[in-house]
């Protein structure tokens, strides 16, 4: 079962900090991921990590710049996708 959005967002903060990007100490659910260097290559890695961890498949139509903007935006997306599957 997928956790609630605030918990999910915090989990994503940890995941991104530990596995993906160089993050400042103040990194939080509403930090701008593009400012931290999220590029298309890093997005691929993030897709893999998220889909493996939460067992969801993020559909084509939802892969937009806005949905990857912050950990919180991603948490909303994951939550939505896990409810609909």
């Amino acid at each position: 079962m997928t956790p609630d959005i605030p918990i999910l967002a915090e989990e994503l903060v940890v995941l991104i900090r530990e596995r993906l990007l160089e993050t400042p100490p103040a990194f939080h659910p509403e930090s701008d991921l593009y400012e931290l260097g999220l590029d298309s290559m890093a997005i691929m890695q993030l897709l893999l990590l998220i889909e493996e961890k939460y067992g969801v498949l993020l559909p084509d139509a939802d892969l937009t710049k806005e949905n990857f903007h912050t950990p919180l935006a991603l948490a909303h997306l994951i939550h939505r996708c896990s409810v609909s599957t």
């Binding site: 993906l20 990007l21 160089e22 400042p24 701008d32 593009y34 400012e35 931290l36 260097g37 999220l38 590029d39 298309s40 290559m41 890093a42 997005i43 691929m44 890695q45 897709l47 893999l48 889909e51 993020l58 084509d60 892969l63 937009t64 710049k65 990857f68």
Partner: protein, 410 residues
């Protein structure tokens, strides 16, 4: 033959160094091993210049070094050889056409008095006292007696041949190399920015289904600016990679071409928008980010970059964050604490053991992490100009004037 300043390596730092030294009146020889100037910006198909603008949160891009770096960028823009700058988070990059960079380098160097360029030429011997350098051109040897030498080879090869001390990171921590190739015939629907995210979806599925090797996850895409054109950049995991070993380099070039070929046929057969696409160009060589770092009179430290330190002999600013690519999983950008860029001291451009030996570009004296900031082309243009001015001053007067150099570079 003799010359005042010998510049070894015709990449961005070498072009800047040679033009700056010659403009200052020094009889200058620039030696480049390939048939074209530009280094990674041409031969390795790097199609953007990073480090030209300051890190900031405002809307307008602010130039970092206003000397030769800005001159080169403005020339590219006015000739149609560049687009942008493009904002990416807190940094701005200039998107460039590698062919235009090569042509601009030809134009600038040929119209500069006191400057001679030798393509197809490689330095193969440097005497320990730096009095004689042997240059190899297709089986012929040329002896050159320079009064000052600038190493802009990226690999610090002139320094290594002269027996200078250097550092090199272990292969597991070296910044990963990038294989960049060109695609054409890409449909317009695939050339918009948001499509790159959809491409991520396709590539992840391709790897999961076994149609693509896992190394394809190091790929990123950018439209090249010409009709139907796109560049594909692949960071390679490059296990046990040695950037100075012929077997290792050969294996990487072969791996890069094979991976490009598999990726191209996957895109063509499986991804909408790529049905008519084809590989239009391969790089002349893989893009190496890091190898030797020569030992200078000062080693630019990681904490210097983090804290945006200033130096009494600062001659250029490094405006790019430390872009760590120790793994092929995307960049890790480490920003300085404030928005103040670190200054690069002239001492980092001067060999510890020889006053007449200068270095610029990615082999200057610095830590592994600091190199991840200063290695980018925009900063190479600036450190190259500074080294050229310093070498010309040293030849003319036996002294270097950092304040004067800074006023021309920054």
């Amino acid at each position: 033959m003799s010359c005042d300043v010998l510049v070894v390596g015709g990449g961005s730092a070498g072009i800047a160094a040679a033009v700056a030294a010659a403009r200052a009146g020094a009889e200058t020889l620039l030696v480049e091993q390939s048939g074209m100037l530009g280094g990674t910006a041409t031969a390795s198909l790097i199609h953007s210049i990073c480090g030209l603008y300051r890190i900031h949160s405002g809307a307008e891009a602010i130039p970092g070094n206003r000397g030769f770096a800005l001159e080169f960028a403005e020339n590219l823009l006015s000739s149609g050889g560049a687009r942008g700058p493009l904002r990416m988070g807190r940094v701005d990059v200039l998107l460039t056409d590698p062919s235009a960079v090569a042509r601009l380098a030809d134009e600038i160097t040929t119209r500069t008095p006191h400057l001679r360029v030798w393509l197809h030429s490689q330095v193969i011997q440097v005497s320990p006292d730096l009095a004689e350098v042997v240059i190899f051109t297709r089986g012929r040897l040329h002896s050159v007696q320079p009064r000052a030498l600038i190493d802009t080879t990226g690999d610090g090869t002139a320094g290594a041949l002269a027996g200078l001390s250097f550092e090199q990171e272990t292969s597991d921590r070296l910044q990963r190399p990038a294989y960049i190739y060109g695609l054409h015939g890409v449909g317009p629907e695939a050339l918009v920015e948001d499509y790159r995210l959809k491409l991520s979806r396709h590539l992840v599925d391709g790897v999961r289904s076994g149609l693509l090797p896992e190394t394809a996850l190091g790929a990123s895409f950018r439209e090249s600016g010409d009709p139907g054109g796109m560049f594909v950049s692949i960071d390679l995991p490059a296990k046990d990679f040695d950037p100075l070993d012929p077997t290792s380099l050969t294996a990487l070039e072969i791996e890069g071409r094979a991976l490009a070929s598999r990726l191209s046929s996957f895109l063509k057969n499986k991804v909408p928008g790529f049905e008519a696409s084809f590989t239009s160009r391969h790089p002349a060589r893989i893009g190496i980010r890091e190898s030797r770092r020569l030992q200078g009179q000062y080693r630019l430290e990681t904490s210097d970059v983090e804290n945006g330190l200033a130096f009494p002999d600062g001659i250029a600013v490094a405006t790019w964050p430390m872009e760590l690519r120790e793994k092929a999983t995307g960049p890790k950008l480490r920003y300085p604490v404030g928005e103040q860029p670190v200054e690069i001291p002239l001492r980092s451009l001067r060999a510890a053991a020889h006053d007449s030996f200068f270095m610029a570009g990615r082999c200057l004296s610095c830590s592994h992490e600091a190199q991840a900031s200063i290695r980018v082309i925009g900063t190479c243009l600036a450190t190259g100009q500074a080294a050229g001015l310093a070498a010309a001053q040293w030849v003319a007067t036996g002294l270097c004037d950092p304040a004067n150099i800074r006023s021309q570079v920054v």
